[in-house]
Symmetry: D2
Subunit: 425 residues, 4 copies
């Protein structure tokens, strides 16, 4: 580890939480160079929905490499990209009767958000965007302006303008929160927008995660989401869902908002769509909005990542039937029950369990407690990650493909660690 400490920037973070050097990984386990194996309930911050080194993907990628497939293609046409597009359309869009153009850009979620914001501003000729408490949308200046966390915002060194902040649609509201999240404050926001003397300009877009991941696993109600969409459209604004972490099957459906009666103008995707952990980002854009782009107006060197197209095409096979999603929903219940059992054991602490599918979280209301539990889990061979304000929430996002025994063992490690620390607190 000395090499890292000596030469790598002090900005490095997760390595401080998991102070070891990893060498191999398979499905829901990472192994360090000393041979210690860890159950992975973090999955690359939500990238590895299909496990580390997913065998089918690995096979396809190796085959592609051995055949000298094109590895880097900007926005040229490649056979690998065509396969991915076809599979995505056939597997995801067509069954849902969704009509969207697929836009590829620099392969980060932040870049997807930047592109979405540019387009919304072009389409509407407006500048301001509504973003919500606890929202996380990236680190570059455009997306960072939509990100809520002040730790990240304060690092910008410049103002982050053109964003109107509003409380999120949490249901139920978080323990102790009095921001007024939910429909009431949304109705007030509508009234502000409709009042010509509120000082709020008509926005270009509303951007949100249906389930906020990094922000602390806040789940919006479908009614609130529909009302945001309605408000956006009533104001002539675009409705953008950032499904970068919660999409790609994480919540028990391909999209986190499936079945809610929503039809976003733009959907941003990244993280899981490349399948194996290599980068890819893609926006789904309604054709009438896409028509506002001129060729090459938003470019990116790495927007043609064919390894990601190959592995991503394999990933899409998981959605040809409902097996993985059924399992995800079932495992989600197991996870939730485990967390709820911890919460119920300490009724006076007001612990809250939140989540959907295989993104489940325990809000401990206390960042230092969460840090201790995380450290205990690591020592016991489990990787979990804190999130939310001050890191007070522990989010469990194992690969969707996790074996039952790893899931059970991981939950046991977590509940033991949490209970011990809570009893001692």
């Amino acid at each position: 580890m000395q090499i890292f400490e000596q030469h790598e920037s002090g900005i490095r973070g997760y390595c401080r939480t998991y102070p070891t050097v990893f060498s191999t990984a398979s499905n829901a386990r990472q192994t360090d160079e000393n041979g210690k194996s860890y159950i992975d309930f973090f999955a690359g911050a939500g990238v590895l929905n299909f496990g580390h080194n997913n065998p089918a993907m690995k096979k396809a990628v190796i085959e592609y490499l051995e055949n000298d497939g094109v590895l880097h293609s900007l926005d040229m046409y490649t056979t690998a990209k065509r396969s991915f597009i076809s599979s995505f359309v056939d597997t995801i869009l067509t069954p849902r009767s969704m009509d969207y153009k697929l836009q590829f850009m620099g392969p980060t979620g932040s870049n997807a958000v930047e592109a979405a914001l540019k387009l919304a501003r072009k389409v509407t000729g407006r500048q301001d965007v509504v973003a919500f408490s606890h929202g996380f949308h990236g680190m570059t200046l455009g997306s960072l302006a939509c990100t809520a966390n002040s730790y990240f915002r304060d690092a910008a060194g410049v103002p982050l303008p053109h964003v109107i902040r509003a409380p999120f649609g949490c249901e139920p509201v978080c323990q102790g929160c009095t921001q007024g999240c939910g429909l009431d404050s949304l109705h007030q926001l509508r009234a502000q927008f409709e009042e010509p003397s509120s000082g709020l300009p008509r926005p270009a877009a509303f951007i949100l995660e249906a389930i906020q991941a990094e922000g602390g696993v806040h789940v919006a109600s479908a009614a609130w989401l529909r009302e945001v969409q309605q408000l956006a459209h009533d104001l002539g604004a675009l409705f953008i869902i950032d499904d970068i972490q919660a999409g790609c099957g994480r919540t028990g459906n391909y999209f986190s908002f499936d079945g809610m009666g929503l039809s976003p103008d733009i959907i941003t995707l990244a993280k899981g769509i490349g399948g194996i952990g290599t980068p890819l980002a893609m926006n789904l854009v309604k054709p009438e909005h896409d028509a506002h782009w001129e060729p090459g107006e938003h470019t990116g060197t790495f927007r043609g990542q064919d390894i990601s197209f190959i592995a991503g095409t394999e990933a899409l096979r998981y959605f040809e039937d409902d097996n993985l999603m059924k399992l995800t929903r079932a495992n989600g219940i197991l996870m939730r029950d485990a967390l709820q059992s911890v919460a119920d054991r300490f009724p006076k602490r007001g612990l809250q369990v939140r989540g959907k599918g295989m993104m489940q979280a325990l809000d401990l209301g206390d960042g230092s407690l969460a840090k201790q539990i995380t450290a205990d889990c690591f020592a016991a061979g489990l990787l979990v990650g804190p999130c939310g304000s001050g890191g007070r929430v522990i989010k469990l996002i194992p690969p969707l493909t996790i074996p039952d025994e790893d899931l059970a063992q991981g939950l046991a490690i977590f509940t033991d660690a949490a209970i011990s620390r809570l009893e001692a607190a």
Copy 2:
């Protein structure tokens, strides 16, 4: 191609220049699905310095995959990352007595620039950054503010503040340009900064490419670059070199500014450092500046790309001796001579040849002419890319590893196409 036209966003660009579907690629050649082979003088916009499917890299990557190496690691420690860091320090930094911290971020050049700007602003407590005519630094709002091209800027939909524009240090100045590029305008800029009533605030940083690639292959003189560095330091600002496209050996040295007596505060790298075409971005930051980062202040899901670390480590072997760089310089002369022969044939047109090492360009002064030549080359089996204002410059950036016969054949195709069109014009 119908699948793309039907489903992919209208923003796609290069596929319009190269209207075919590529399937495989090897060193300096790409082959489309009809079996037609193209010599590649574009190299993934400067990513593929070591050729498509570089055999050593491919072997290392396949081996890594077969061994279940960690593929996605955020900023956790991995053995693959350690190898990369060690190689980079030993091969690149130590021989140059350069003392820098390595910072990894979201794997795009734009993200590297965003991180550099944040840090410069944190270090200085100032907001404004000086950027130059023709500079290209990325597409996200922070980096886009430093990018000069109005086609990209106009797509932002919001103002791009906190950047002071100045003419670049081209030597010689471009045909017909009267912006006053070079030392004279730089001295005036110094006087403006030193005058308390110029209205120009003290800047946080000066950011530039020593050789501007996308902007049209403008080469700054060493004297101008040293004076920019001196001015930055006299003003208490950071001196940032964006070596994303010109670095990693492209110009005949590892860094485009090697041997010029420069010591940038931050060097941004991306494109070529991942070796095989998979994404990676890295900043070299002087330790005294790096100390201003708090852990995790600038994050990115894909900042731990182990395939890129593995292939990038192989790429660094090319710099253990001077063979590839010697060849690069020699081939650069061949390329320049070929272009100059075209320019010399049409003395009245004021064609200009510019470049360094294996980035050489012909400034045709006319975007539609450049477009025609590019199309003719494509038809004849050569990929070249226009750049600069209105696409008036054709830039040749083949893989550094291109076989002699491909280089010769490619140059022949290009000069034929250029001469035909110039004669007809």
Copy 3:
């Protein structure tokens, strides 16, 4: 009127509402060049609290002119300014145990607000300011950013950043308004500021009018105002009351917020303080904040207006006893009763009467109706002015010195006009 139509800018406004040429004015009456006399319920948009050509002021000004008193003095010391300062301290500040520094600047309310915002930003080192729905603070870019009305904001031609918008503290809330004005939304705003992941930065200041005049005569509750002050101080922000239109006796006390237990960090004054209608602006600044100013950091050519000091000193005599304020409160009740009688006559229309002291208004909920009534009043010899969103509110602000018979006659004209139009509507 042809001279005006031919040569004056099309931006002129009130002359379209009152299409005649005025020549003389005395107390609450203006007379046009045809000899028609109008009762003035508009008082120069709240400037002429002490009537047109107030005899004592007129006498003092003429005397000052005849004695060659200094008329223009920047921020040099003059005897006239000293008299004004002494009177203001003795008559207004000392009896209230208020300890403030007096700052003079360019003689407009907008300039007073600009100075207050600069100081708040200097004191706190922060940039954002909280301003409220319907607030009016001026037309220059800094103050305009705090002004709510979109008609004015849209004319800026640039973004108006660094302001956070919130609903006002109206009590009761306006007919049909669902912005959530009042304590509930203020508590939510507090929660947003206290939540590090709301995206809201700590503000430099909260700026508000205790009674919003131009915005449509919205009266904040004392409880809400106290809570804003408390919130500001809890966040380390300054609490600024813009008393430009509602101050100087208009509401039945010198300050509109007298007796509410408030202690603003900065109070902005203009309009009425010059007494006779000549310009003057002045901020009251707590000494600990004033200490952050460097000499001459905010200047203004016309900041030393000695005619205004002379007439303003006369104006202060009205506050040496409670006679005028008693009368103001009594007349305010008369005015309110008159308006309420109109409202009561049309119970289904939800007309609302709002105001305090001699600023009383009828919210007609309909700008075109208000425009018609205003025109009818003008024809009948009464000047009233619409305000609020779309001009739907008619605000009555006669001179505080209006003779009883003028007040009665004016109210009769107004109620007749309003009733006729309401019956016809």
Copy 4:
């Protein structure tokens, strides 16, 4: 003076330079309360072109007051305003064949500039404005963004965006200045604007003073001014001359740019146009631009100042013949000769005399020296004011109506003080 020190804000400035309390003033003399008389070479920072208490104006104002003329009228029509408009059109515009609309606004120069910027942005739909080194345009956020002096800019507390800075057109250039002022840098600026990859957006306007007053009395050449106008029009931008301090006869013509072949799109006026020292501001706007205003889009409580209209109408009589302007030009030569004699006496110091008409200045190149000379003058009974960067320039702007003996005596005091200090230095 204790009253001021105890109660007035620490921001007060000129009173520190002139530490006495003034009571009366007449033409070119101010008298303090101890009876000491001072010759006024400062004239209220350029307001009092026609002297303190100009007898004709005083008489007219007193008469107007005695007749109960309207004193405050917003943008209603009054007889006083009509007289002023008619006189201005007949005396100033018609003889020059100038076709402009007259726009009145809040009565400060800063407000005039804010209105001009709004209109330029509305007309062009663009945001950026070009402003120049040493330019002074006001203190509110919009005008301050165009002001060059960092002492004022740094007090804003927020960024001052949407302004592009360029060197001014000084001829000759100031001693020691290497900013490249003049036509060369203007040609480079043109080239930058015409190059689509310079990063400079097309501007809404160019704003400048033909003679910079507060900035240090820099005189632009007519050729440079014409080229700025041409560049503006070639770019589709407005050409705005801020004639607030240099206009109204100061330079020996009514406008400072008379006779240069210029036709600005907007001319901003304030300071001297009210004649007697009371506030007034007015923009002259070409009718085709004025047509973009909607009624009341830019308002201001004090935009109808009838005392200023009355006195300003008297002031216009001075321009019915050329007597005052002839005298101004002649006295300007006297002033210049006196200053030049000082400069010539110290040839090694590189002192520079600059100015036009009765705005003449000595650039001492040293702020502390200028401060000492100013203090010596004050002690000897002469008021002069330093300006420019660090206060290194002493500007002489006596009333145009100054008696010969006062001018001679004042110049003698100044030259004695300057020579003594320069000899001692």
